[in-house]
Symmetry: C2
Subunit: 160 residues, 2 copies
DNA sequence: CTCAACGTTCAGCCGGTACTGAACGTATCC
DNA sequence: GGATACGTTCAGTACCGGCTGAACGTTGAG
């Protein structure tokens, strides 16, 4: 593994760690981001110099979050992983759902907490409105971005 | 502190903790979100049942991230804190800057890492383009949201 | 000047959790 | 059948970071 690749994977490890994921998950992600085809658990483990147990757990976890895809090959017992296509959209959607949880909490607070000051009530309502507005904007923007990004992907999608 | 308020602050603590902040920071934020005027460090510490040291550190940290504002009063030595106005925009901007770090890392990788597969290079370039696109969309949406949200704020802004 | 009221800093403790190595279960091949 | 190649699970460890209490510096009041 050349030093630039190592540097890149380490940086991804740090960045994803700052987002609340285990560092190894970030490294796996960073490494897969630079691979054109899927990699097996063993390849990942040896390339990153970590235990296969960690790779197994973290890769499965990443797959559960849709940032990585589990790939199997006929006549091959091994598990392969690659970054998901539409990675950016997936990450955006995931982020939106996180915000949604936040906006939901605010909404529930506004309804359940005894608020004596109208200003506070207005603040919470405003936050909810802002979230709804931005969610709409981001949603339509995502819809506009994807289609003319990769024509083949759009064709595949409409063929479903 | 009534049970609903406690419930709300705890939930905020959990949510912000999931975003990578200390739980106490989330609790402070949640509590301030329900207050109409600024609160002192001691008020926060006793209300939350935590040490003043923690409140001091975390409140300052939150202020550094622009999610909370440091308020002082003439003839009063104490430090007060309240949630920032334009909270939503601040959080959006903060999130955008996080993404930017991510996009920067991808860009640097694309330039520095020896990439043998054109598909990988294209993937990285596409990610950068998607980020730039979304950053633009979100930026203009924020600009459109704020003005007709709080007219007085718009007036203040245009007076600069 | 002395004392109280603040905020800040720091060493130490404590809790959580990421990571490992070994054991295990299962499938595939000989 | 045994042996190998997989992935998974789990107990144990090591580490990291949050939180605390105590000590400290500073400001203001009496």
């Amino acid at each position: 593994m050349d030093p630039q690749t190592a540097r890149f994977t380490e940086r991804m490890g740090q960045l994803l760690e700052a987002e609340g994921m285990p560092r190894i998950a970030g490294r796996i992600f960073g490494l897969l981001l630079l691979q054109d085809d899927a990699r097996s658990l063993d390849e990942l483990a040896t390339a990153l110099g970590v235990s296969k147990a960690s790779v197994s757990t973290n890769a499965r976890n990443l797959a559960g979050q849709n940032v990585v895809e589990h790939v199997t090959r006929p006549g091959d017992r091994r598990d392969y992983y690659r970054v998901t296509p539409n990675l950016f959209s997936r990450m955006m959607e995931q982020r939106l759902s996180r915000w949604r949880r936040f906006a939901d909490a605010v909404g529930e607070g506004r309804r359940s907490v005894p608020l004596h000051h109208p200003a506070v009530r207005a603040r919470l309502a405003e936050y909810e409105a802002a979230y709804a507005y931005m969610a709409g904007v981001i949603g339509t923007a995502l819809g506009r971005w994807e289609p003319h990004r990769v024509p083949r992907a759009a064709a595949r999608r409409s063929a479903r």
